[in-house]
Amino acid sequence: MAKPTRQPTIAQELEKLIADLEKSGDSAATREEIGRLRQQLEASRGEASGQSTDAWQRVLLARHPKRPYTLDYIQELFTDFTELHGDRRYADDASMVCGFGFFEGKPVFVAGHQKGRDTKQKLLRNFGMTKPEGYRKALRLMQLAAKFGVPIITLVDTPGAYPGIGAEERGQAEAIAYNLKEIPKLRVPIVVIIHGEGGSGGALAIAIGDKVLMFENSVYSVISPESCSSILWRDWDHKQEAARILKMTAPDLQGFGLIDEIVPEPPGGAHNDYAKAATNLKPLLSRALQELQALDADGLLRRRHERLRKLATFVSES
């Protein structure tokens, strides 16, 4: 059974009810009740994988405490993963994991935000909120990968870039901006995978690529639903509505042409089966890399710049 969380999903609540009832003894009434709850549970799981899912439900799934994190995907997908550290300027930021590994026998470079599971890990990983040194480390190593012709894979999962005094002093904005300008110049394929929270500029700083894949229950937005709610309604009580109007789910983003493909998740969400989630991703990642590696570096860069130039052009002209 899942550990209790601050905001359990409907499925978790139902699971708990069923478990409690099963313990409470065997009678016709409880059996009937359990059957009814099971049906509801199935329905809620079906919903979680369908397009009709409420945006807020997806936000909760994207932040689920048991959701696979970057290192879980790294473990499932790559062999001989070798982590590399530090921005050679200031520090090593543990909220950003970078390293080389083999994918289907070929070397790749991987960079991704990392969240922690328990309190100690959460603090070490700073809740997945990266500081300037983390973005600088990612860029430094991406440039190294490009130097050796190794394709780049990024795994995006962050509530946002860290808002703190030290981060501002060391140029949080500059670190993100510089990545946005330098990553497009790298002469190797870049595949971006958004697998949890795509929190604004902190996510985008490693989310520029030639192909963007997004897990079905991940979200990607310019602002969190809580902050949006506090700006518009001056409290957090409207976060569910905010999640809906921000159009932050994978189907929404695909509709706007901001992402390329949606990675299906196992029933109920990726937290139910890490191996299945990774297995679903694998063929899409493999195909994306093959497609991009077929292009020569000039062609790849031309294609990338055209894509980025046309990105999100929603204007009318009079």
């Binding site: 002093e169 901006a177 795509g198 009318s316």
Partner: protein, 281 residues
């Protein structure tokens, strides 16, 4: 029960003392002195007493920078399509209409082309009065086109930022403008014409985290608030009061994030000289 009871008497407020000045005077946000508006205008909207820089409109900004205040405007017809159909208590469309009425602009940025100290230059200026100078698809597309023009005609580019960041009402579409513009600036690097970013009060969020920090030169006006996260967000996160002068232009200069602080009065001459020094004239 008390023996004596004090008669409760409402404090009478003195009668309102208002003097009709027909908006001739304004109070300085810096030194709190009362200033004659004409003095302020004559002094580039800076306080003659304490040099506090008031916000200026995008149009006034372009007039200050271009020779004789003359320029050709580009892409003035671009308008938002409200891609999210965003609606809270008020619809985004209504907010846009109101902003257009107040500013006479269709969105938060004007692109002008003209002479700056006799060098043909493209200048983009942001308008804070338009939804907090926020960057949505229109601002993004206008800057991307300005960069295309600077590349095509090999012209220096100046962007004067004044913005709260990415526009919430256009969601992830606003976010992607950061990627679009930054990638454009990467291409501009190849034609070797200067891009000078001018950061004015305030420049925060997604604007700072993209083009505002990517100038060949990053120049700020005195006292401008410049940062990634807004001061309130940081205070809420770390539960501490922020130090005096935090995220002001002088703080950024001390931390090595900007090249120089230039008073508004000297900005035009400075930009002209910088262009010449970088070989654009």
């Amino acid at each position: 029960m008390a023996w004596f009871r004090k008669e409760k008497q409402a404090l009478e407020s003195p009668p309102e003392k208002t003097v009709q000045t027909e908006g001739l005077w304004v109070k300085c946000e810096g030194c709190k002195k009362i200033l004659w508006k004409k003095d302020l205008e004559a002094n580039f909207q800076c306080c003659p007493q304490c040099n506090h820089h008031f916000k200026v409109t995008a149009r006034a900004r372009l007039e200050m920078l271009f020779d004789e205040g003359r320029y050709t405007e580009h892409d003035s017809g671009l308008a938002s399509t409200d891609p999210l159909q965003f609606k809270d208590s008020k619809s985004y469309r209504d907010r846009l209409k109101k902003a257009e009425k107040n500013t006479g602009m269709k969105d938060a940025l004007i692109t002008g082309e003209g002479q700056l100290e006799s060098t043909r230059t493209i200048i983009c200026a942001m308008e804070f009065q338009f939804v907090g100078g926020s960057m949505g698809a229109v601002v993004g597309e206008k800057i991307a086109r300005a960069i295309d023009r600077a590349i095509g005609q090999r012209l220096p580019l100046v962007i004067v930022s004044c913005s709260g960041g990415a526009r919430m009402m256009e969601g992830a579409i606003s976010l992607m403008q950061m990627a679009k513009i930054s990638a454009g600036l990467a291409r501009l690097d190849e034609v070797k014409k200067p891009y000078i970013s001018v950061l004015t009060d305030p420049t925060t969020g997604g604007v700072t985290a993209s083009y505002a920090m990517l100038g060949d030169l990053n120049i700020a006006e005195p006292g401008a608030l410049i940062g990634f996260a807004g001061p309130r967000v940081i205070e809420q996160t770390i539960h501490q009061k922020l130090p005096e002068g935090f995220q002001r232009a002088e703080f950024l200069l001390a931390h090595g994030m900007i090249d120089a602080i230039v008073p508004r009065k000297e900005m035009k001459a400075y930009l002209g000289r910088a262009s010449r020094l970088l070989g654009a004239a």
